[in-house]
């Protein structure tokens, strides 16, 4: 019961959480906060690019 749910939603939920962290962290400060934001927001972009262009 839990496993198919996890398989389906684990990646989307993780990416959504990273997106929110990225959006909020840069609001709080510069420097490290901006770096954290770039990493967290960059992950969904990287994941989308990777799977979108991947040849299997």
């Amino acid at each position: 019961m839990i496993r198919p749910l996890l398989k389906l939603w684990a990646a989307p939920v993780l990416l959504a959480v990273l997106t929110i962290v990225g959006l909020l962290s840069a609001l709080l400060g510069d420097g490290r906060w901006n770096a954290l934001s770039a990493f967290a927001l960059g992950t969904p972009v990287a994941v989308g690019t990777w799977f979108g262009l991947r040849r299997n």
Binding site: A16, L27, D30, W33, A38, L41, V45, G48
Partner: protein, 396 residues
């Protein structure tokens, strides 16, 4: 989810998307250059820069600064004077024929020498066109509200797309793109992949965009309620004939809001203040609080502070939603990521449109295949979901 539920969500997804897609494509395309408007303005020579001076150079009297600007348009009245975060050497003065003049003049003045630096104009240029197409479609408040309504449809499309993600992806691993079984399946999978990875960002940018379209009504409500309360004692007084010193007003406002910096000043009669007050909007010092304003009302004749209070939650929400929509608060990496997410959204919109246009073909292929097999279409979730979109499309 039963096939009926899926069919209903598919109907919601299809119609909410179809109605807003053309607008959203326009917003994505015009938003892309707007992410880089500062850089583009600089390249086009429309940027304003103050000459280098010693950092401790004395500041010019603000009344002199305002007088220098007004001398260029003696028949116009001052509407606003403001200072950008990180640009303490420049005052931006706005002049108009009346306190709500939409075709106002903007003048940049050196904060140390009170010399006019430039007259940056949004109108006429390429970025002005992008701005209007993105914000109000050249139709003022109604254009904004229309785009806001389209934004609400986008949010509906995103949420219904999220609901449909489950039945469409049940048989696939995350990120699977079926490339060898025809273009429709390939684009369906890409639509789902890019839709799900950009989901949270698109929800936030969509929602904050919608909130931004309500800026004028929100401001109007604030004026009608809180501003009216703050200026109640002045209600029946005639408008001031002579305006007092802005420099003195500013000093009193700074003393009344210790630790804060000046964001902008609204002249009497403009939507941000009363007909009797300078509305001096102070802002905090940190990255977050520099986005938030605290209005301090100064009697425009006596230059004394008469009231101040924090902004209500809905205007705070409006101010916070601005950076979250613009993507201008995390340096150049964030701008790049914003552009890439914008491009991904264009692909999601385009592929969605493609999938709808190709709906008939998919149904025919499916029917041919089942006829050739001489068997009923297997009732897999995927099999029931994909025609749900297309069968409904056929009826419409």
């Amino acid at each position: 989810m039963t096939p009926i539920t899926i069919r209903r969500w598919a109907w919601i997804h299809k119609w909410s998307s179809l109605v807003c897609t053309a607008f959203m494509l326009l917003l994505c395309l015009t938003g892309l250059p707007l992410i880089y408007h500062h850089e583009i303005d600089g390249l086009l020579g429309n940027g304003v820069q103050a000459p280098q001076m010693a950092p401790d150079a004395p500041r010019a009297d603000l009344d002199r600064v305002i007088a220098a600007g007004r001398a260029m348009y003696p028949n116009k009245m001052a509407m606003y004077v403001s200072q950008d975060v990180g640009e303490p050497d420049i005052w931006n003065l706005t002049l108009g024929d009346n306190p709500t003049d939409a075709s106002y003049k903007s003048i940049a003045i050196d904060a140390r020498t009170a010399q006019v630096l430039a007259q940056p104009s949004l109108e006429g240029g390429l970025m002005g066109v992008m701005y209007h197409l993105h914000v109000d479609l050249y139709a003022g408040l109604w254009g904004k509200l229309l785009l806001g309504a389209m934004g609400l449809l986008l949010l509906t499309a995103i949420v219904s797309g999220l609901v449909l993600y489950a039945p469409f992806m049940r048989k696939l691993d995350f990120g699977d793109v079926r490339r060898t079984r025809g273009p429709r399946l390939k684009w369906l999978d890409l639509h789902n992949l890019l839709g799900i990875v950009t989901l949270a960002w698109a929800l936030v940018v969509g929602l904050t965009g919608v909130i931004n379209t309500w800026a004028e009504p929100l401001l109007g409500y604030w004026q009608f309620t809180e501003m009216a309360e703050m200026t109640a004692p002045y209600k029946n007084l005639p408008p001031p004939m002579h305006l007092g010193s802005m420099q003195a007003s500013l000093a009193h406002a700074v003393a009344a809001a210790p630790g804060m910096k000046i964001g902008f000043v609204a002249f009497p009669g403009t939507p941000f203040t009363s007909t009797h007050h300078y509305g001096i909007f102070m802002r905090g010092d940190s990255k977050l609080t520099s986005r938030l304003y605290r209005p301090v009302l100064v009697d425009a004749q006596t230059t004394q502070v008469t009231a101040q209070r924090a902004l209500p939650w809905y205007l705070t929400a409006l101010l916070i939603s601005q950076p979250l929509h613009f993507g201008d608060y995390g340096g150049s990496p964030m701008k790049l990521i914003w552009s890439l997410l914008d491009l991904a959204t264009i692909i999601v919109l385009g592929s969605g449109l493609y999938l709808w246009l190709k709906r008939g073909g998919a149904v025919k292929t499916e029917m041919k295949r089942s006829a050739a097999n001489g068997a009923a279409v297997t009732a897999t979730v995927e099999g029931s979901a994909a025609p749900a979109l297309t069968a409904q499309g056929g009826e419409a």
